[in-house]
């Protein structure tokens, strides 16, 4: 990019579309570990419990429709301006 003389943009920034954090993935992973362990060691009560837990967490997660957000354009501009100042101070 440098070779082709790319210029760092200093204006025209827009809000950034982001996915929201969710704990569903790590919780499902933990329950899956419990299920795998229980199946290997024939611990049927734990297997049943963790399997029902996986189903419940997965279904509960589907009721969460608030999955994304935007980093407001003011924050993007502020961060980029701070970077611009840092770069010009270094010259």
């Amino acid at each position: 990019m440098k070779k082709r003389n790319a210029q760092r943009p200093v204006e025209g920034f827009r809000a950034i579309h982001m996915p929201r954090n969710t704990r569903a993935g790590i919780v499902l992973a933990g329950l899956s570990v419990a299920l795998g362990f229980a199946l290997i060691w024939y611990m049927w009560w734990l297997a049943a419990l963790s399997f029902v837990g996986i189903l419940a967490v997965a279904i509960f997660h589907t009721f969460n429709y608030d999955r994304d957000f935007y980093i407001p354009v003011e924050d993007v501009v502020a961060a980029e301006d701070a970077r611009t100042q840092l770069l010009s101070a270094g010259k």
Binding site: M1, R4, N5, A6, Q7, G12, R14, T62, Y65, R67
Partner: protein
Amino acid sequence: MSTKVQTVDGDAVAFYDLDPHEHPAHGSTMLGFWLYLMSDCLIFATLFAIYGVLGGNFAAGPSPADLFNLPLVAVSTGALLLSSITYGFAMLEMEQNKQGSTQLWLAITGVLGAVFPGLTLYEFYHMIHEGAVPQRSAFLSSFFVLVGTHALHVTFGIIWLVTLMVQIGQRGLVPANQVRVQCLSMFWHFLDVIWIGVFTVVYLMGMLR
């Protein structure tokens, strides 16, 4: 995607997208779901291969002709194929934003779908009752795992269907729910296709053996 822009020195190139663009909320969901379906297809391909290799090893036990009840299988196959048609009707109603009739067709699909694992359970119960348990022969082991995995998929599809109907009831046919209906549609038709394979390879060819 990058757009050339003219700058002071005349030869600079922008390496970022200058045009406003949208990330639709569910833009990549369909691709992800296809990837899931194809990995699920690999599971069934493996189980079919196992059945193909082991399906003829009866260990002096019962063979398909002794066990299978074709009229029963015909009923469950009919219910599953019909449920695919009724799911199609639900999709058509959803296209026209008719929430009530979408829910109705989804409910009919669920009832027809529930017939299928019900009859599979009944069949399994009878076979086990007659001593045709999975441990009896390689044929029975591979039969139970192949048909059982398929019936489990249908059961999870029904759980998904009920959950989705609750969510449509809560929020209506919002875009997020429409994507879910489309994904479940693909899942449902996929299970139908797999069943055609099971029906042909296990039941029909089993009776011919």
